[in-house]
Each structure stands twice: as C-alpha cells, then as structure tokens.
C-alpha cells in the first residue's frame, strides 16, 4: 500500500501555493506536512481527497495503490480524513456513528461485531448506546478516528488532529493514532504546525 | 337524501322566522315615517355631499364602466360621491345587512344601494332590511308602466311594494357562433329535448353555470318550466306544490344530460360570464345570458367574434326585471334615491341600453315618454346579435322565488360528486 504525490502544483488566482511537491508514503508510515497558515497545507489535503474548489488550479498526479485519483469523485477515492473537530453526528449514538462508516457488504451480525471490536480497540466498550454529546473530548477524538478507520480507507489524511486537545490528552491520543496507523499498515499524511506532533523527523515536507 | 333536505329547510325557516319576529316591529314603524311627506327638491338638496356605497356585482367590464359613467354624472349634477363596491355574489350583501341589523347597527350601515332581485329581494323584504317605500315617488318612475311590463313591480312573484325600483329588463337567451355552427353543420336547438339531442351530438361541448349561480339556476328553472306537465304550479309558493312530483321530469332529464356535458358534468363553470371565453375559443358551443343584448356588447368589447348570434326556445324563455334598493340602515338614503332616480331617467336608461355600452334593456315604456325621450331609444343601434322584441318571443314568468332554494338544494344533493 502506498500513496504517491507526483509533481503537485496548486495555484489560486495566478498565485502559486504549492510547487512541484513529490512524495511517497508507504503503508504504516506517517509523513508530516509543516508550514505557516495560508501556505497551502489544507489545499493539499483537499486535492488528495477530491474536495478542492474549482477556483484552484492544479497539476500533477495523486496515485493510491497504483490508481490515479485525479478524476475520481471524492466518495470513490477511499481516502479517510480526520479533522481537528471530531464531527460526530449528533443524531446518532456512538455505535451508530461507527456503523455508519462500515462498508455496505457486511451482514448485520458482522456489523455489530465490528463496531464492538472498534469500541474495544479504543477502550470504550459499553459506550455503544451513548449520545455522543455526553463523551469527553478525548473519547470523542478516539471514536472519530475509529469511525474513519472502520470505513477501511486505503490512505489516511490527518488535518491537525491534535490541535484541539489539551496537553495531557494530546500525547496519549497521538500514541493511539500512530499505533492504529502502524497496525493497519495505512499510508498517512498529517498536516500540523506543531513540531512535537511529528512522529518521524525524517519524513517531513516543509512548506513556506 | 330527501329527508336531510327538508330538515335543513325547516331549520333555516325556523331560524329566519324567529329573527323576523324579534326585529320586524322596529323596522315597520321606522320606514313609515320616512319618505312620502318629503318633497323631491328637498331630498335632492339633502343628498348633496353624501357618499353612496353601491354594492353591485362587479364581474363585468361593461357594467363597471357604465357605473363609472353614472358616478361621473351624479358627481357633476348632484355632488354625490357614488362608490361602486364590486361584489362577487349579491347574497353576501344581503347577509351582511342582515347581520348588521341583528347586531344592532341601525344607522351608518356599510351598504347604501344594492343591485338586487328575486330570492335576495324576498329575503331582504321579509327581514325588514329595506328602506322605503320610495320607488313610486321618484320622478323618473313616471316612465314605468306596470301594465305593459308587469315584472317592474312584481319581482319573481313577490310584490316590489315600492321597496325597490326597477333598473333593467332581463330575458334568458342562448348565444352561439354561426361560424362554428356552419363548420359543424348544425343548428341551434329549439327546446329542451332538442338540446339533449344537441348535447349527444356534440359530446363535451355543452355546459351551464354552476347553480346557485343566477343564470345556472335560471337554466334549471327554464328546463323545469318546459318539462313539467303543469307549469302553473310553479307560480305559487313551493310549499303548496308536490316538489318531487313536479321536479321529477327535470331530474330525469338532467340524469341523461349530465354525462354528455363538458367534463362529463362533473364540474361546471362558475357563472355565465365564464362561458363567454369558452364559447369564444370553441371549447363549448352554447352560452347563455340573462341580458338579450349581452352578445352584441361582447362583440363590441372584443370578447366574442362578430359571427355570434342569440336565440330563444320556441316556447319562450324566462324573463324578469332587476332592481335597485336601499338598505334600512343607510345614512345616505337621500343620495341613494337621487342616484336611483338618475339611473331610472330616460337619459341613463338609454345610455345603458346602448349595446356599445352595456345593452341592458330599459324598464321604461315608450308610451310614457315624450318625443325627445323616445328618440333617444329609437336612435339606438340594435346590435348585430340582439333579437328584436318580436323575435324574443314569449316571456315565460319566473317561478315563485321560493322555488329557488329548493331547486338549488335538490340539485346539490344529486349532482355534487
């Protein structure tokens, strides 16, 4: 499994945001994208998951497992994304939030099992019927990540995933995220502005 | 179904009679004091500056224009402000005045002058809602000859008693387009049974206005007068007749006719004027009106082609008179009388009879007029589609006004889907 960015240029209103970005992320790896706000970090993520507004102009290729994603609509790309906001759906229970992400081909009993397993993985067994608004910040973040992973993405994008958590929660959640990525062998691209978040100092793209 | 009907009837009768008993005394005495003694000149003087709210059906451009003309005239001549309140149904005016009376609004009523006849007049008269008698004291009334035109004082069998002044004459006539008829190679039906044949031949192209529309109900009465074995019964109050026996030929006829009608008789146009554009477009082949000159004026206003003509059934058609009356609680009775007097004058009547204006036949009798006045009428064009008095044939008398409600209820009970 690998995510490859080849010669990515993005410009807006004639102004170049990203210039010839090249990068290869292998399964289980986390490549960090660092830079000040407005440097085009979010545009890069939007480009990969297919939600870049039409006003942006880009060239280059995004390749996931040998397939060029450029012309696929967002929902066919199988790229999971984790925002700094947890964005749990308030009209669904915790369990339903997780089940929502599961692919359609699982049978009903299997869906149940997978949801339970995900809850075990994030040490939240028994929370299935809970209203998401009752959870703590750390719990919400974990459920949110499990939900993304349950959709079985072939790559994971992390958009400042830790910036809204307080310092104590931050390190434990960081640990949890990287562990999940490693054990599932998914390529991951993480946007951050905090040096401390970076798991592997050698794999960093610095944008100006 | 019959049982339901009669229970509605008795109920409403009871309610109405209770109402009358409670209030009739007051009105009776009040109206006696008025009128008679006051000389006309004084009424004219008092009328100056008064405002008259004239509640008249407002669905016709020609009629509205005519009333506009009258508004200018009475303003110029008498300083009266005439305001045309365009109503879509005169019965709503009756119910409003009635409601005002029972609510104790004995003066400053919202209606000063109303265009009325038949059932609505009977209802107002019986409930003591009318000012007067005044009509026969109007100077212009001298032009009316009740001998020649009996319906000018007898409104659907109900004596006018001077509580309303005649305004125009009406007779049911049918309208058709000669051009369309020659293309379809057909001729107008001459009686009820020919009409049925006509409808069978031209399925979906015949209809009539939805009762209780005035013309719609008149059409029912016309059929009833033609079909019932003893039409004489119709002239008496309905309570004196065997309603079912008298009307059963009508229902048998309609049961046969309705499936042949426009939209299979499931629905009907709201009134006779709604038939006009349908006739114009050829959506239907026959229209009907209570104004013999209507077709001519509709040609003049561009609503119908120049090839339309009118006809009547061989045995004659129903005719009547429409009137003007003043509600009891009007504050402008003087001005209302002056307006009525003007509308009844040879000048206003002749203007009204002009098919380019409205084409409504006059209530005045030529024998009562002087030479100049008569000339106003003889100079009028007849209008291309208007039948001469001879061709209009026999005028059938209207059934007693009490038949109206009964017929309408029975029709509703049978033909509402």
């Amino acid at each position: 499994m690998s995510l490859i960015l080849e010669q990515i240029d993005i410009s807006l209103d004639g102004q170049r945001l990203l210039d010839k970005i090249c990068c290869r992320v292998d399964g289980g790896e986390v490549v960090s994208v660092l830079g000040p706000s407005g440097c085009g970090k979010s545009s890069l993520l939007n480009l990969i998951c297919g939600t870049l507004p039409n006003s942006f102009v880009f060239s280059g290729e995004v390749i996931l497992e040998g397939i060029v994603l450029n012309n696929l609509p967002s929902y066919k790309r199988q790229v999971g994304i984790q925002f700094q906001d947890h964005l749990l759906f308030p009209h669904m229970t915790v369990g339903e939030n997780l089940a929502f992400a599961l692919p359609v081909n699982y049978k009903k009993s299997e869906r149940q099992e997978r949801v339970e397993q995900a809850l075990v993985d994030c040490e939240m067994l028994g929370f299935s019927g809970q209203n998401p608004s009752m959870l703590s910040g750390g719990q919400k973040a974990r459920i949110s990540l499990m939900r993304t992973l349950l959709s079985e993405p072939k790559a994971l994008l992390l958009d400042e995933p830790f910036s809204k958590l307080d310092t104590t929660l931050r390190s434990s959640f960081r640990h949890f995220v990287f562990q999940q990525i490693q054990s599932r062998r998914i390529p991951a691209l993480m946007v951050t502005h905090d040096e401390q978040d970076i798991p592997d100092k050698r794999r960093v793209i610095r944008l100006a | 179904m019959k049982k339901n009907m009669s229970s509605i009837r008795t109920w409403s009768k009871k309610a109405t009679s209770a109402l009358i008993m409670a209030t009739v005394a007051f009105i009776g005495s009040a109206s006696d004091i008025e009128a008679k003694t006051v000389p006309w000149q004084e009424i004219v003087e008092q009328s100056k500056g008064q405002t008259v709210y004239f509640n008249a059906w407002g669905g016709s451009e020609q009629i509205n224009d005519y009333i506009d003309w009258a508004t200018d005239q009475v303003e110029k001549r008498y300083g009266i402000a005439l305001k045309h309140v365009k109503v879509s149904d005169t019965s709503s005016v009756v119910s409003r005045v009635l409601a005002e009376k029972v609510a104790g609004r004995k003066s400053n009523g919202t209606v000063d002058l109303v265009w009325i006849n038949g059932e609505n007049f009977r209802s107002m008269k019986q409930n003591g809602l009318l000012f007067g008698p005044f009509a026969e004291d109007l100077p212009s009334f001298q032009g009316v000859d009740p001998q020649e035109k009996p319906t000018t004082v007898l409104d659907f069998g109900e004596p006018a008693d001077g509580l309303e002044a005649p305004w125009g004459m009406a007779q049911l006539v049918f309208i058709y387009d000669t051009d369309t008829f020659s293309r379809k190679q057909t001729t107008p039906p001459a009686n009820a049974s020919e009409l049925l044949e006509f409808a069978r031949k031209h399925k979906g192209r015949v209809t009539y206005p939805l009762p209780p529309d005035f013309v719609g109900t008149t059409f029912l009465k016309q059929l009833l007068s033609e079909l019932t074995p003893e039409p004489g019964v119709l002239l008496k109050p309905v309570s004196e007749a065997d309603f079912d026996a008298v009307t059963s030929p009508l229902w048998r006829y309609l049961d046969e006719l309705h499936p042949l009608l426009w939209r299979e008789g499931e629905t009907f146009p709201a009134n006779n004027l709604a038939l006009t554009p349908m006739l114009d477009d050829g959506e239907i082949l026959l229209s009907m009106t209570f104004n013999p000159a209507y077709a001519s004026s509709a040609i003049a206003s561009g609503e119908l082609p120049e090839t339309v003509r009118t006809y009547v059934h061989d045995a004659g058609t129903l005719g009547n008179t429409h009137f003007l009356a003043i509600p009891f609680n009007s504050d402008s009775t003087e001005a209302a009388q002056v307006v009525i007097n003007f509308l009844l004058s040879p000048e206003a009547q002749a203007h009204k009879a002009n098919p380019d204006v409205w084409g409504d036949p006059t209530v005045l009798s030529m024998s009562q007029l002087n030479g100049i006045e008569r000339k106003r009428f003889s100079n009028l064009p007849l209008g291309p589609a208007t039948l001469s008095p001879e061709a209009l044939g026999k005028v059938l008398p209207e059934p007693h006004s009490s038949w109206v409600a009964e017929l309408e209820e029975a029709w509703k009970a049978r033909y509402r889907q």
Partner: protein, 581 residues
C-alpha cells in the same frame, strides 16, 4: 445592546422590558384567540348577535348532512398534504443538489420574485398556461391541427391536481428559503467532506446526515404551509375544484349565504376545519416520530447511494419546470392584458391597449388602498418586530434563562396565526368587528393584515438579529455614549440589508392577503387582490391579465426598491454604494 429603559431604582429594568414584550405579544395574540373563541359558541348554536340564543347541536347535524361533505374534507386533506409533501421533497432536492454550486446562486435569484408574487396572480397566470385553450394547448394545436380546444381537465380538475401544482410552485421557494436559513447553522461543508471521505455520495450524505438535523429546524414552517393550504380560499376559487369545492371555500359560501342560519353552519364548519388542521399536523408529527425510529437501521446500513446524478438532474429539472411555469404564467398575464381578440387555436393575438385604458380609472383606488395598507402594515410590523427583538436581546443580557424563555414565547406566539386556519379565526374576528361596528375602515384591514405581516417580518429578522455580534454595539456605546446613536448608526447599519429585505417581504405578504381584507373591509376597502378575485367571476381574461399583472408588479417594485436601497445610499446628493453591501 438595547437599554430601552434606563435601569430603574426600584423596579428592575429586566422585569419592565419583559413586561413590555409580554404586553406586545398579548396585544398581538388577543385578536387571534378572541377570533377562535368567538367562533366556538356560534358553532354550538349560540350567537346572540344574530339572534340565536339557545345551545344546540343542530348546526353540526346540518354540517354532517351537507352533500359531499366527506369529499370536500378529503379534497382539502389531499390537496394540502400532497402539496406540502411535494414542496418539501422538491425544496430538499434543490437544496441538496444545488448547495455550494453555481446553480445555487441561480436558485437564490428566483426565490424572492417567486415568494413575492401573490398566490392569486400566479393562479391566473398558471390557469392561462394550462387551461384547455391556454398557451400549452395552443402550442400543441399547431402540430396536432386542432381547431377546437381539447376536453382537458387541466384547471379546476375534480382531483385538485392543478391546485396542488399551484401550491407547490408557491410553497417550494418558501421552504427552500426556510431550509437555507436553517442549513447555514449546520456544519454542511465539513459534513459533506467527511461523508465523502467515508465513501458516501453527496445526495445520501444530505439524506442521512443533514436531513435528520435539518427537519426539526424547519418543522414549524412546514406546518404553516400545511395549515395555509388547508384553509386557503382565493387560490382554490380560481384554480381549485368547483363541484364540490374544497372545504374552506364551502365555509366561505355558507358565511355569505343570505340565510343567516348558515352562519351557524359556517361556525361549526370553521371548528371542523380547525380540527382538520390540528389532526393533519398531528399526523405529520406522528409520521416524523415513527419514521425517525423505523429508519434508524437504514441510516447505518452502510449503503453509500446510487442514482445520485439521476435525482440531482430530476430535482434540477423540476425546479426549472417550476420557474418556467412561473415565467410562462407571468407572460400569459402580460399578453392577455394587451389582447383585443385571441381565439383558439391562434398563437398570435390582435393587440390593443383598451383593457389598460378601461381598467386604469377603476384601478387607482384599489392600488392606493393596497399601497396604504401594505406600507402601513409593513412599517408597523417591522417596528414592532425590532422592538420585540431588542427586548429579547436585552432580556438575554439580563438573565440567560429568562431571555431564552421570552424568545421562545415570542417565537411561539408569532407562529399561532400562521398555524391556525385563517378561515376559522378570521370569521370569528369578523363577528367581533361586526359587534363593534369596526368593519369597513382601512385601519381595521391594516390591523388584520398585521396578524400575518408581523410574524413573517419577525421570523425573517430574528435570524440576522441572533447572528449579530453584540460587541459591535458595545463598542459603539463606549464610543458614542448614546444607545440611540449606537442602535441607529451601528446596529441598524450592520443589519441594514435584512431590514430592507423584511420591508419588502412584509409588503408582499400584505398584498397577497385576501380573506383578512374581505372580512375586515365589508366591501368598502378594495385592494387589488379582492378586486382580482371578484373579477374571476366575470371570466374576462383581458381584465384578469391587467389585474393579475398589477398584483404581481406591486410587490416586485418593492423588492427592487429594497434591493436598491440595501446596496446604495445617497451621499452628498449622489448615489453611492453602501460599504457593507
């Protein structure tokens, strides 16, 4: 910031302001409740005003014996429920496929004119297009070689399809407008991104993730549409079935029957209509409740959606169809108003200015009345709305819970006249007016209009007021030390556009009122709307064209004026663009 009252020494200003707000609400709600109340006794035979002084059930018995009662009730139910559901589906379809795309801007451009056009004018226009000798049939006739109009049931059909169609054209833009106002409070773009990354198509994201949160926010507007379409009379008279008519029309016919006993029947009928509205709303609520339970497993079954494109283009087409019909209707009115002769199947009429010339004299008074009533009602409604909103804001600053309670109460009160069937409480109000002899004055008519204009203005303004950042006013107050100056120059300045929009909306609502005008005017105060409806009975298409067009243009002129004023201002005698436009 709205210290309308300087904080008193003995009485807290909070208590005074909430009392003031409550007083205004009571003044507003009283006529509505009095109207409903005054209908109850007559419904059971007691109406001393009209001489009925004993209680009885006889009017109910009469009601039950009315020919085709069930059909009429069924017709009302069917037309209102299906038109509401269709509008709701269409509105949602448009929102979810247009949101965030260029198409959305096009939709938005049409919302204001579609909402501003009075129902009756639209009904005339649609009638001219669809009727058997209308534009559509004429176009077909050219190819089919017809020389006579077909025996179509395209208007006033007995199933009420044409009435439903008209209501859909009119209500869909309103629901889109309400949905758009609600949707901005939801994290739509994040949800769409997230849903897309989970593999969901956007249509399904709207359906499974946004709709369940959106619907509760527009529930009340949906119910107002429902209540309105059950008790609407003017449109039903023009384009609805006639034999039998819808139940509301039947009630109006009873009210205007010369036999006063039918007033009791009308009263009982009005109560029945109220019951009908309550039960339909109840059914809608129950359905929502059941659906939200039954569909939970569907929500999480993992289906990502198919046919998204199909549904997208379908709702786009439906919207285009709706706009086309509106435009065709408007053009048909325009054409007919200049027609001399235009027989079927001709496509090209003989032109004439006659209808305008003849109508012009008679129209000046109704137009003046409409303007007088509309402008007065709109100004009053917006002033009261702003006062109420300011009092709410003030209360909110005094005490969070009391403020919340007050604003909930205000909102609720505003919805009452929109949720109750007009026929029911207006008939009751008319009985009261009759007793007081207050009928027939333009101020009375304006007062009744206010019952409908005020809620729309208030609800329209409450969103912008909520989103207003109070810190602007705080800053202004610190700098100017005058709350009046702050309110006028800062708050009204910031909220200028919504206020202009609300003025235009209020006027449009007033112009469209038929029953309130009819009941309060006693025929003496004629507006273009009452004139237009009474003209239908005459069937003169040229005149209908003229009146329909004028009725359409009046609110439109106000929209244009409001639009202009919200972008431009006069500075030193020249037009200048407003900064925050």
């Amino acid at each position: 910031m709205s210290p309308l009252l300087k904080s008193g020494k003995w009485v807290s200003s909070g208590a005074v302001s909430s009392l003031l707000a409550l007083g205004l609400l009571v003044l507003f709600i009283l006529p509505v409740l009095a109207g409903v109340g005054s209908i109850m006794l007559p419904a059971f035979g007691y109406m001393p005003v009209l001489g009925f002084e004993t209680f009885s059930f006889s009017s109910w018995q009469m009601l039950l014996e009315t020919p085709a009662l069930i059909q009429m009730l069924g017709l009302s139910l069917w037309t209102s429920a299906s038109s509401t559901l269709l509008s709701l589906i269409l509105a949602f379809g448009v929102i979810c496929f247009a949101w965030g795309t260029p198409f959305w801007h096009k939709v938005q451009r049409w919302l204001a004119p579609l909402m501003a056009v009075p129902h009756v004018a639209l009904a005339f226009g649609v009638m001219f297009v669809l009727m058997p000798s209308g534009l559509m049939a004429r176009l077909i006739a050219v190819f089919a070689g017809w020389s006579f109009p077909p025996d179509w049931q395209t208007v006033q059909d007995s199933y009420g399809i044409s009435l439903i169609l008209l209501l859909v054209i009119k209500e869909t833009p309103f629901l889109i407008f309400m949905m758009a106002a609600a949707v901005v409070q939801l994290p739509v773009s994040d949800t769409l991104r997230l849903g897309g990354s989970l593999g969901y198509q956007s249509g399904v994201i709207w359906l499974k993730l946004i709709w369940p949160r959106l619907y509760p926010m527009i529930r009340l507007p949906v119910y107002t549409v429902l209540a309105f379409s059950i008790s609407v009379v003017d449109v039903a008279l023009v384009i609805g079935p006639a034999n039998p008519p819808t139940f509301a029309v039947q009630i109006l016919q009873w009210i205007y029957d010369p036999d006063l006993a039918n007033s009791l029947l009308a009263a009982s009928g009005s109560v029945l209509l109220l019951l009908l509205v309550v039960s339909v709303i109840g059914v809608f609520y129950l359905t929502e409740w059941v659906m939200s339970r039954l569909l939970r497993s569907w929500l999480v079954n993992g289906h990502r959606g198919r046919f998204s494109i199909f549904w997208g283009s379908l709702s786009r087409k439906a919207w285009h169809g709706l706009v086309m019909l509106f435009l065709a209707g408007g053009s048909a009115l325009l054409v007919w108003s200049f027609v001399w002769r235009w027989r079927f199947p001709s496509l090209w009429p003989d032109w004439s200015l006659r209808s305008w010339e003849r109508a012009w004299d008679c129209m000046s008074e109704p137009i003046v009345n409409s303007l007088l009533i509309g402008v007065t009602a709109t100004l009053a409604a917006n002033t009261i709305s702003v006062i109420l909103l300011e009092l709410n804001d003030f209360q909110q600053q005094q005490s969070k819970s009391a403020g919340k309670w007050l604003s909930l109460l205000t909102r609720g009160a505003m919805y009452i006249p929109l949720l109750l069937p007009q026929m029911t409480f207006l008939f009751g109000v008319q009985l009261l007016l009759l007793q007081w002899g207050a009928e027939g004055h333009w101020l009375t008519v304006t007062g009744l209009h206010l019952l409908f204009v005020l809620p729309y203005c208030f609800l329209g303004l409450s969103g912008p007021w909520q989103h207003y950042d109070q810190r602007h006013s705080l800053q202004g107050l610190l700098l100017s030390r005058s709350w009046l100056k702050t309110f006028v120059q800062v708050k009204l300045g910031v909220l200028w556009r919504p206020v202009m929009a609300s003025l235009a909306l209020g006027f449009a609502v007033s112009i469209a009122q038929y029953l309130p005008t009819l009941f309060a005017s006693a025929g003496r105060v004629e507006t273009v709307t009452t004139e237009a409806v009474s003209l239908v009975s005459g069937g003169n298409r040229r005149l209908i064209g003229v009146y329909g067009l004028v009725q359409m243009l009046l609110p439109f002129i106000f929209y244009v004026m409001a639009f202009f004023l919200s972008y431009w201002t006069i500075k030193n005698g020249c037009f200048a663009r407003r900064l925050n436009s």
